[in-house]
């Protein structure tokens, strides 16, 4: 709402609403439940960012220094005056702004394989904001970001993926060997780069000697100048084993205006890109960080409307959201090839949704046989109809 107000009645005087750490001006409504707490936190941290404080009642003590008070109801004129004053304040203090890091961190110095963490609880430094309106009107043109999922059956997936190793569910030794190390592939480098970008809260470019890839940690987006076909081919190449390919990998910090100069249709959400990259790198294998004999569980359902839906992925999710299970027990219960379970495990693990039950944890064993629902046949017909409609 505020975004619309700034873009509309205020004629774009305040243009973009961003996360707190990037804001040039904070607008705080102290009549909201958390408003006073946010203001107090800001005063404690002695932030130099000017604040425009909105309230129903006049509070003289806060109309000082870098604080500008507006009494409600807010008029367009009052908001424009406050924004102008805040802008002057910023210009006067521009020499005090933080200098950006100029070093180029070496990617291989950073630990690989950190799953993306997007939970609000992982960002204690920022006050939790319930709402975030997308003031950037270009967001709707980031078509890849909002694109609906591709849902694949076994036949379509086989044609899409090419040759995958066929595994025998009864051959325990073969299953145990069907692993891969994401660190050997582009997947590992991308996950490492995401971790660096998030930890430093810094837009970075991942240089790989392939296509440029930019990471925008603030809005969990990645810009990649490659289509899925190209990425799928690159995903399967071993980079970090012998050879010099990994030496091409590095990170370059970029400034916060970088997003403005790139094609909007090449932005993707981090989660979507990492998920599909893990599917393509896995090719029916599981990540070696997983103990395949121990049960795994799903912290919550993946956002399937925006992710690549591999064969049986929703059935696997439904089982794992209910109880921890081993990969083999999932394949047996659903009567599916283990490689489809491994692909799901790889993708869900890569985006931090899948965890493993500790070996000494006492959990009730999930039943191998699952009875179908009484309306099994009806549900099957509904699913067939829904899928036929999508074709």
């Amino acid at each position: 709402m505020l975004a619309m107000y700034l873009l509309g009645p205020c004629k774009s005087a305040g243009v973009v609403i961003v996360d707190g750490s990037d804001a040039e001006v904070d607008i705080i409504d102290i009549d909201l439940p958390d408003g006073k707490v946010i203001l107090e936190k800001k005063q404690v941290t002695e932030s130099n960012t000017p604040s425009i404080i909105l309230s129903l009642t006049k509070i003289n003590s806060i109309t000082s220094g870098a604080n500008f008070y507006i009494k409600k109801p807010i008029t367009q004129e009052a908001m424009l005056n406050a924004l102008t004053t805040a802008k002057d304040h910023i210009l006067k203090n521009s020499n005090k702004t933080k200098s950006r890091p100029e070093t180029e961190p070496s990617l291989l110095d950073e630990p690989l394989l950190a799953p993306i963490v997007q939970d609000v609880v992982s960002e204690p430094a920022k006050p939790p904001s319930l709402k975030h309106y997308v003031a950037d009107i270009n967001d709707r043109d980031k078509t890849s970001k909002h694109r609906t999922a591709m849902q694949m059956d076994e036949k379509g997936f086989a044609a899409y993926m090419g040759i995958m190793e066929s595994l025998d569910i009864t051959n325990a030794a073969q299953l145990k060997q069907a692993h891969y190390n994401p660190r050997d592939y582009f997947q590992g480098y991308l996950q490492s780069a995401l971790k660096v970008a998030s930890a430093r809260n810094q837009i970075v470019q991942l240089n790989s000697g392939w296509k440029p890839l930019l990471i925008f940690p603030h809005n969990h987006e990645i810009w990649l100048n490659a289509d899925d076909k190209q990425l799928r081919a690159f995903a399967g190449i071993i980079i970090n084993k012998g050879g010099d390919s990994h030496k091409n990998m590095s990170l370059t910090p970029l400034d916060s205006n970088s997003a403005a100069t790139y094609d909007l249709d090449k932005f993707q959400s981090m989660e979507v890109l990492v998920w599909k990259l893990a599917c393509w790198t896995s090719k029916g294998r599981y990540p070696q960080q997983i103990d395949i004999d121990s049960p795994v569980f799903l912290k919550h359902w993946p956002n399937f409307t925006r992710l690549l839906i591999t064969p049986h992925a929703m059935r696997i999710a439904a089982l794992l959201a209910d109880k921890p299970r081993t990969a083999a027990s999932i394949a047996l219960a659903l009567k599916i090839k283990p490689e489809y379970v491994f692909i799901f495990i790889s993708a869900a693990f890569a985006i931090g949704l899948l965890s493993q039950v500790a070996k000494n944890t006492d959990i009730a064993a999930a039943p191998q046989e699952i009875k179908p629902d009484k309306k099994h046949s009806l549900f099957s017909r509904i699913i067939s109809k829904l899928r036929a409609n999508n074709e």
Partner: protein, 178 residues
Amino acid sequence: MSQYKIIFAGPVGAGKTTAIHSISDVPPVKTDATASDMAKDRKSATTVAMDYGIMNLPGGEKLHLYGTPGQERFNFMWDILTEGGIGLILLLDNTRADPFLDMKFFLDSFSQFISKTTVAIGVTQMDLSDKPTIADYQIKLKEIGLNRPVFAVDARVKNDISILVQSLLYSLDPVMEE
């Protein structure tokens, strides 16, 4: 022949009418009227009784799709509509002031029905308001002991609504073959 139904619920403007339209085989029956209360701030016409659509299934059976009116004053109808239902699709509008409050309200209101069946949640308008995130909704659900599908959806996109309904059915019966 048995009659089966899926219920679509959610606050005013969450996209229930549009979602039913996306997957119905017949033009949905709408009972819209000019909004005269708080709904008028969000859209010019609102559903005052219910929406109704049909999916014709292989074998001649029909799946009935019912959308409940968003305004609380019609909640006397909700028990009647849910009787014999397969499950609940809850649509939430991410641009509303407190979507968590909406989620809690509808989960509480339909708690009996959900305990007998299940629920899948679609969050609309995420291109206009990207917070709360899907992970935020999942954290809130976990606080009340639920691990259910929560997806970003565009109610106008058939595939989004199709995937949401499929997740509802797979939650009820994961062993159902694809």
